[in-house]
Amino acid sequence: MKKQNTMKLQLDSRSVNESFARSAVAGFVAQLDPTLDELADIKTAVSEAVTNCTVHAYPGTLGKVYITVKLFGDGVVSITVADKGVGIEDVKKAREPLFTTGDKAERSGLGFAVMESFMNTLKVYSAPGKGTRVLMSKKLAERG
């Protein structure tokens, strides 16, 4: 699994940056010639991860969101979305579908479930006060 290309992006945790973040990642992944469905899956997963940073990581303040994308020769896309925010006390609970600490009337609680479903792997590293690192990967289908 030879690394082919890498991209790093650092953003303020403003909600207006959510669309830029997913578009930038999609633009970078495009060089692997993904299908439209694969690209839509990746955009959605990135949008969920970055939204978590804007909604949960830095309550009442702004922080940074760090995105790293690695492309591998065998068509694997690896994406890390990290923050230096408040962290998650119970990662297992946070990953349960429908669980949310946000506004229950407006937040679906599906973020991690979507990342898990739309990508092939999902790992979440977090501790209170230590920020959160979401590592996800997707293997693109062989083309041609």
Partner: protein, 135 residues
Amino acid sequence: MLFCIGYRPFCMANKHGCTGKAVKMASVVFTFEENKITAHIAGEIDHHAAAALRLEIDERIISATPKKLVFDMASVSFMDSSGVGLILGRKRLLESFGGVTVITAVKSAVQRMIILSGLQAMLEGQEEIKKEVNV
């Protein structure tokens, strides 16, 4: 009637109160029929766009208290789970005064999110999507 949500790149400044600050977002146009409001949403629904859409849609709903709210998704090119929250929040609001909420014209880009979140039951038409099982 056209209601502009926030700032749009190609919006003529001052036409819809836009400042022309360029960020592509979602917009919504409403059509009103007897006891029914249709929200024709265009663009990408994420957490940022959903906040503005929610305000616009709720304003219409609360003043008209329709029996039915239709989310027309024909021009939605992207939706993440914030869109699910938006739809479910409006569904609850409609239910509070006995109204129903349905979703129509879902394109493939949005279809997986609808299925994953179990919103198929709210689809009007598109029977083929309803049969797909949440995986």
